[in-house]
Amino acid sequence: MGLREWALGGVLLSPFLLYVVLALLLTGLLRFILRLTPLRRWIWHEALFDCALFVCVLTLVTLYL
């Protein structure tokens, strides 16, 4: 699917906004899973890790969705 605007009741929404929201949800899910596993002990700077993870997920979502 390419980048195309979403029409919502006459208001055109940027597709990137939807990707961002989707990526945010996916990142939250991933973080939740990571928190349950022992992997989280390896994280040095949590905020930095979250931020990087979000960028990675967002890239994947934009490229492959």
């Binding site: 208001v11 906004l17 700077h45 905020a47 930095l48 931020c51």
Partner: protein, 662 residues
Amino acid sequence: MPITLHALFAPDKAALQFAIKTLFGGGLALWLALRWGLEQPSWALMTAFIVAQPLSGMVLQKGLARLLGTLVGTIMSVLFMAVFAQTPWLFLICLALWLGLCTACSTLLRSAWAYSFVLAGYTVAIIALPAISHPLQIFDQAVARCTEISLGIVCATLASALLWPLRVERQLAVQARQAWQSGLQTASATLGGDEEGRKGLVEILGRIVAVDSQREHAWFEGSLGRQRARAIRGLSQKLLVLLRIARSVRRQWRQLDDREAAHLQPWLDEIRAALANPDTEALQALRERVWQAALELRDSAPEHYCLARMTLLLDNAVAATQALHAVEQGQAPADLPDSLAVHRDVPLGLLFGSRSALAFLAMATFWMATAWGAAPGGLVLTCVVCSLFASRENGAQIGMSFLRGILLALPVAFLVGQILLPQWSSFALLCLGMGVPLFFGALGMANPRIGATATSYCLHFIVLVSPLNNMTFSVESFLNNAQAMLMGVGAAVLAFKLLVLRNPAWHGRRLRAATQSDLVRLTRRDLRGAETWFGGRMADRLLQLARHYNALPEHERSRWDDGLHGLDMGDELLHLRMCLAIARAPLASVEREYLERLQDVLARGPGPGREQRLDTASETFIAALREQPASDALRLAVGAVVQLQKSWGRWCRRLEDLHGLA
């Protein structure tokens, strides 16, 4: 959320009055701005909400600080635009640098006036960013913003001064009494033992600093307020000295052997009882008796020193009580000490400043890359959040509550601005539409626990509705603005989260270095004003150390002890120099030699294996003191030299133990 519900639906009288005052001030500002046809009346309304504070003096002080900052910011924005109108990147970089500088200055100046610097920083962003596409209008824009903001300040001040005025200076008297009471309690606890005293010390230091910071607000409340503000200065200083002397009595107490301690125990108990139930005359009578006992015990040095210091403690307790009366009666004493000095940390300020600048540049890059029309709104918010909360420990949390406020404002503003207002047209209906949501917001602002969220809710509600004489309604720009706001604040919160500048170990090391250099300066500094200078700065540092205290693992908590050891050293040093000044013995060369040696040792700092460094110098100096004809002051000076040596040894041994652990 019981707090929120309670604040909104069962407010107390003070909150209700505050909400009505704020709403009235805001309404007046909005009406005048609309009547005079100012360009963006919402700025007047917003300013009225921003400077709204529960107490009159605070409103005036904040308003003046804001006005000052706005003026500087306005001038700078015109200047930047004049120089860099053709080169956006240079313009943005300069703006980032200016923002960083202002944030750094506001962090360094830890008083209510720091707000001016914050304003000077982000006013440039407020004025210059929207004008970047039409630089020729910058001057008109600058004048318009300045007028609107001043109008808001004037209206808010009027409302708070005329409707149910609440004065800082009255509360000041109550707070001063509380500070005095807990000061005496802490002093008494310190006499009893280390552990008890330490817990109280943090609390009382916090109280003293809090009361002292209110001085600036009380200054604006007539002559009584000014007198009280000056009297508070005396009280804070007296309380700090009292606490230090209590510690010095305790130090001296530790030198006593069991027999001597048992001998003096009744005196100690009596003093603690007197401090628990303070009364000037009783304190003075007790002081006379203790001093007589001290004179009788001249032959037993430790007991004599201990009793002499107890006398000093009682003297200061009396002085503190008198200072409290001066505050309560609003009569400043004639011989006022300097105001408390604060500990300034330039590198830390610069770090905070660069964080703001970085966050701004990141957002600006996004703006330049996307050329999104609504982005400047978000950029302004990044500036505001970054510079306002830069020096707060919990900047990220405040930023999050800011974000929560925006999320609350969005649906309400949509309902009012896009659905209701298009069907209504008159100032009365506008007031109804905006007044009801803002009233609840103002009720929330009165409650400190949800204040940040409520303030953010009010401000963004006003921005999103943005009342004008010729309203234009557009869902599209509403959505764009909303997104930009969320992104802007989000970027600021991200900056706070990513660049965490609180490494307790690093802070501790820096604070110790600063303490050390203060001690070195104390060996040669003029004695006048030295007490407030050293006491104020140490109080500030101890508070900063205490803030990290709970975050530290057990064995690292010694940093706080580091601060206390430094305080003890400085205290003894002051005591020694005061005794020598009173004795006026012809000792100039010996004294200078000793102080130079001390300065040298202090400059190298305490450390394992350094505890004997003061021994020879102390012995020579004590011998020289003993050769002089005996007097009370010289006897006490000998005691102070011994204590200095012991305190130094304790500080070094403490570090040795630490190294042993590590």
